[in-house]
């Protein structure tokens, strides 16, 4: 093997490693998202996902309210053949600078909120309140769950909160376009499953 070939191979390996690292930054493996049945609805668990981190966590600790947009979809037959109604929610999270605890409000319904939470508890609360109806999901096909989470950009936070409720156009616009580089975002997929096998 010549020196040039070796260098070329090393460069390829390095680039592939970088690509892997990049993908890891955007998503987690299928082992990180678990599907559970809750009455006649589907919800997910992601014990290794910690979206209250990095810049978002810094802003929260500065006392700023940070909204997170969630989307949970189910695919049938093929991984990108989404069926049924997705669950779309915006959760507004804030951090008590005195008590050092989190508060989460589901913006679609302000009465749905929880306070005095640790970071992990706040993350779990969001997922517990993200529910997809199981009715209409094909029982005979292989299914996958896909979870997308994004932070809202600062400008979008102002426009959405000013409406004293969820800003539907802002949320549609946000979720229908690729996340911006400065936005924190996470994508998780579950392993394939059948509806009948989903645990309670």
């Amino acid at each position: 093997m010549t020196g040039t070939t070796k260098r070329s191979l090393a460069a390829q390996v390095f680039l592939q490693a970088l690509l892997c690292l990049e993908l890891l930054g955007l998503s987690a493996s299928s082992e990180d998202l678990f599907v559970r049945r809750f009455a006649d609805q589907i919800r997910v668990l992601a014990p290794r996902l910690h979206f209250l981190s990095g810049k978002s966590l810094e802003r929260l600790r500065d006392g700023v309210t940070v909204p997170f947009d969630f989307q949970l979809r189910i695919a049938a037959g093929l991984k990108n053949n989404f069926v049924g109604q997705p669950a779309v929610e915006r959760f507004s999270i804030s951090y008590d600078v005195w008590e050092e605890k989190f508060r989460v409000v589901r913006l679609r319904d302000f009465r749905k909120s929880a306070a005095g939470l640790s970071a992990i508890a706040a993350e779990s609360w969001c997922l517990e309140n993200l529910l997809v109806p199981s009715a209409g999901l094909p029982a005979d096909k292989e299914l996958w769950a896909r979870l997308d989470i994004r932070t809202a950009e600062p400008k979008e936070q102002v426009s959405s909160n000013a409406d004293s409720g969820i800003s539907i156009p802002a949320l549609i616009q946000l979720l229908s376009r690729p996340p911006r580089p400065q936005q924190d975002h996470w994508t998780l997929e579950s392993a394939s499953f059948h509806l009948a096998d989903v645990k309670q």
Binding site: D62, V64, S92, I172
Partner: protein, 442 residues
């Protein structure tokens, strides 16, 4: 993994009907309990249960904010945190300062149920700004104005100004000012600047007559000059925020009115110590203090034809509460040696002994000066009283007084865009003609 995402168009097809239905449902539900939802909306931030103890801007001495923004900052104090109001205010500050971004953070207050709001300004990598740093009209002395363009690239600031000033000196000077500043030199506590100025001078008849008569000849250097150029390198050190020290040199070249006469130089070492602080108290009281000491020492050791030392001090204190304000300003100075006309002290302009004609007081200015001013304001109405004296060493000072009334959008030097329209009267025996003053940022 990103390649597995559905296209944005496909996502819209799924989301729009769903979210539209959600919106309709949400609106229907909201109508029933609208008030409750509005109250709860302000509670999105868990810290909204705390009382705002203070509202501040980090590095506030770098910025000048309008009265309305300062008022809005005051209004937040003493009430529960309103997340939306704070965000709106951040947006307004961003617009006014033309900043890249303005963020805020909440800090624990002095009591367990209180918090402090601190705004932070991010200026961005580059910007460009056009402004009128000074504009004034005096019915006796005419107009004064300056236009300035400022460009900023990172920590480098370039500014260029054109001005015609018939107010602040015994002479009217018209010309340009070009300046380069490096805001950070290894540390944010050190900055440096290079300034170049070129002016053409015009004189009032009374001033030329006084020069010709030889009055003040013992203390006046250079006589009347046709133009002057100045090159001024300097460095500013933040000694202890907000106390700064500027040191540098001023190389000033004076071109005489008669071209056959050689030019004269007034090269000086310059030092300025400045303190500027603003406090916003929880009882809605805003206080500002601006104080400075300036020393210019021209010596032959740095090639100056004229040798003199000029000391100047200024203190300005303003306090505002509700709709009332009081501002007290004191300035004083003295010169040793033979200083050129542009260094001499003048009273009777748009900020001192308003109502007096500076050429009536002393057409050449003086080498001793003291002045005090008190301004009371209620809403936009201003009433002011000025007193002071300018004289030459060895002569007796004559203290003069003046008073006036006007309307203003701001208070003192600290607020951007402050406009004053006033009528001022000299207080003296006999007939006193009022002077009309109008201007901005002076």
């Amino acid at each position: 993994m990103e390649s597995q995402l559905h296209s944005p168009v496909a996502m819209k097809l799924v989301l729009i009907p769903l979210l539209a239905a959600t919106a309709l449902f949400g609106q229907t539900a909201q109508r029933a309990d609208d008030t409750a939802d509005q109250d709860q909306a302000t509670d999105l931030n868990v810290n909204s249960r705390y009382t705002v103890e203070s509202v501040d801007l980090s590095n506030q001495h770098h910025y000048r904010l309008s009265t309305s923004i300062l008022d809005e900052m005051h209004r937040l104090i003493g009430s529960r945190l309103n997340d939306e109001a704070v965000k709106r205010l951040a947006g307004r500050i961003r617009g006014e300062l033309r900043a890249h971004d303005v963020t805020f953070k909440l800090l624990r207050g002095g009591n367990p149920d209180s918090i402090k709001v601190l705004f932070e300004v991010e200026k961005g990598q580059s910007d460009f700004d056009l402004s009128i740093p000074k504009f004034a009209y005096n019915s006796r002395e005419g107009g004064t104005g300056a236009g300035q363009a400022i460009g900023r690239i990172g920590a480098n600031v370039f500014s260029f100004a054109g001005l015609s000033d018939g107010d602040s000196l015994a002479e009217r000077f018209t010309g340009i000012q070009a300046k380069y500043e490096r805001l950070s030199l290894g540390s944010d506590r050190v900055s440096m600047g290079f300034e170049f100025d070129a002016y053409h001078e015009q004189y009032n008849g009374a001033t030329l007559s006084a020069i010709a008569s030889g009055v003040d000849a013992s203390s006046l250097g250079a006589g009347a000059y046709r133009s002057r150029m100045n090159f001024e390198p300097s460095a500013t050190f933040v000694l202890a925020t907000p106390l700064t020290l500027t040191i540098g040199f001023s190389f000033e070249q004076l071109q005489p009115q008669v071209s056959a006469v050689p030019s004269e130089s007034a090269n000086a070492v310059i030092n300025t110590l400045r303190y500027h602080q603003r406090w916003i108290d929880s009882d809605d009281t805003n206080q500002e203090l601006d104080a400075g000491y300036n020393l210019r020492a021209a010596t032959r050791s740095i090639g100056s034809d004229l040798a003199y030392t000029r000391h100047a001090v200024n203190v300005r204190y303003a306090v505002m509460h509700d709709h009332q304000s009081i501002e007290i300003a004191l300035v004083g100075g003295l010169i040793y040696g033979r200083a050129p006309l542009f260094e001499r002290f003048v009273l009777g302009d748009d900020t001192t002994l308003r109502g007096w004609d500076k050429y009536d007081i002393d057409p050449l200015g003086g080498n001793r000066m003291i002045h005090g001013s008190v301004t009371y304001g209620y809403r936009v109405v201003r009433v002011f009283y000025d007193t002071g004296a300018v004289w030459d060493q060895g002569t007796a000072p004559e203290v003069r007084h003046s008073a006036g009334v006007g309307i203003s959008s701001g208070m003192g030097l600290f607020q951007k865009g402050a406009v004053l329209v006033a009528v001022a009267f000299p207080i003296r025996q006999g007939r006193a003609e009022p002077v009309f003053i109008a201007g901005m940022n002076f």
